[in-house]
Amino acid sequence: MNRIQQLITANFDRYDGKDIEAYIRLGGFTAIKKAVEQGSDYVIDELKLAGIKGRGGAAYPTWKKWDAGRRRVAEQKFVICNADEGEPGTFKDREILKKDPYKVIEGMMISAYIFGAKKGFVYIREEYWDIQKTFKKAIEKANEAGYLGEGILGTDFDFTLEVFSGAGAYVCGEGSSLIESMEGHAGRPRIKSPRIGEKGYLGYPTLVNNVETLAGVTRILEMGASEYARYGTEKSKGTKVISVSGNVNRPGVYEVPFGVSLREIVYDVAGGVENDRPVKFLQLGGISGPLVPGSALDTKYAYETLDEKGFTVGSGSVVVVDDNNRIIDYLVSVSDFFYHESCGKCTPCREGKRQLTRLLKKFVDGTARLEDVNAIEKVANTMKHASFCGLGQTAPTAILSALKYFMPELWQLVEEGVHENVAEGEWK
């Protein structure tokens, strides 16, 4: 099995992101043509055969979401590309947006065609301001070339596209918060039911998809689902674009077939660990994901094999941490992040993050006691089960996995009462 594949990323470095002619020469816009010619049942069947699941983290089958969405009747409908990419350790959408913007635009056209939307937004995080500029240019060119606007491809399909800039809030990656911010409010999650698929932007049905999902859809229609499904495993078909970072020799964005092992990702794809040190743990799927101990490196990177062990694909990030790092320092930095990013709307998350941060710091300054370990577990579980949105529910994931795999190291801190201080972050 080849450890690196280029399906979704096939166009990387093969054209200048703004050159629509070059994109067309590389086979661009054949996927939307197929969709328009063969109809929406065909597209849904292809996505089902390809088995693609949402790449924003939740891994919900794309065909199911689209199939339910296309049946909803409404005066207006909207599609949104979620390019808010805020999970620390994750930067794969950045590369897709930068190196093949038209594949994402084409994916949005397909989603709009199936869903029945005439208007779409690309919600790009503020930190990617340069990509926002490129995207605006790319959209302009697509308008001029007649791929956006009215009567696209000589049919009655109308679709226009606009860029919206995020403003530095992780929680806005969550669909309903994203929409709140697009309506001129602070980005706090909405109470579920109705879901945004029924009542989203301005109260109309809204389909939100991740950047990679949309690029993947384009590629699947382009090459044919049965061809795409030849890659990967039985239950995790195709490929995944991953972001590898931390203590590795070649951090970066890579596309791998599902089914490679974590060891292959670290050593073959990313060039091994810096200074040949052992892997202490990985964090998979962003800062909201679990820690994977070095002893589990032979686990295959696929939904079924990761799920079985309580791990996750999530956002597709792989942070590699070597044995020079203390588990407690990593946990403090995870907890600082959530402390900063919780929107404060619900009590379990707002109070839980405060408690967790306080408890973890006791381990750092050497005042932690036996009962503090139990307290951490209790608070973490309450947050996981009682928080209102995905942020609070997943904030304690890393901590809970550390309790599972790194208990001896945490015990040692209790026993020794280490007196050391990590640099404290002052946030806004």
Binding site: E85, P88, E127, A167, H185, S243, Y330, G425, E426
Partner: protein, 158 residues
């Protein structure tokens, strides 16, 4: 009045559409002295868009990219999230503070430099990284950080 006419220009570009408030404020901020949304600016925008002042304040306080306080000419934001921590951002922090003679969260007396921590901005492949007025510099260590400050001094202080 000059500042207000700049604000009006932004508002016009967005057709006074209050749905775009988050993006409007980001652009307005760039035109303001000290690059922040002052109380007066917030009130002016609220009035022109016909939304409540509390709506504008809430948005400003919620989003990290919108500031309630002025910053120096050169805003240096050091990532303090997981990957950058693992990649020893502490060395960068020490070098920044030493070279500028201020602590994280502070602005130099001459209002040229502001140092801040920030969360991950998606440059983890080049950790540890900073953003200098939004431009990313990565793979930093003590030497390259000192060189970066020297370059910024030449560009902004001479």
């Amino acid at each position: 009045m000059n500042e207000y006419s700049q604000i009006d220009r932004v508002l016009q570009r967005y057709h006074y559409d209050s749905k775009a408030l988050v993006n409007i404020l980001q652009e307005v901020q760039e035109t303001c002295k000290g690059r922040y949304i002052s109380e007066a600016t917030a009130e002016y925008v609220a009035e022109r868009l016909d939304v409540t002042k509390s709506n504008v304040y809430e948005v400003v306080t919620f989003f990290a990219a919108l500031r309630e306080h002025p910053v120096g000419e050169v805003l240096i934001q050091l990532c303090n999230s997981t990957v950058c921590k693992v990649k020893k951002n502490i060395e960068v922090k020490n070098a920044l503070e030493e070279a500028l003679g201020i602590q994280m969260g502070e602005t130099t007396k001459d209002k040229k430099f502001t140092l801040q921590y920030t969360t991950c901005f998606g440059a983890c492949d080049v950790s540890p990284a900073v953003r200098v007025n939004k431009v990313v510099y990565g793979n930093l260590d003590r030497e390259t950080t000192l060189a970066l400050i020297a370059k910024l001094r030449r560009e902004h202080c001479e």
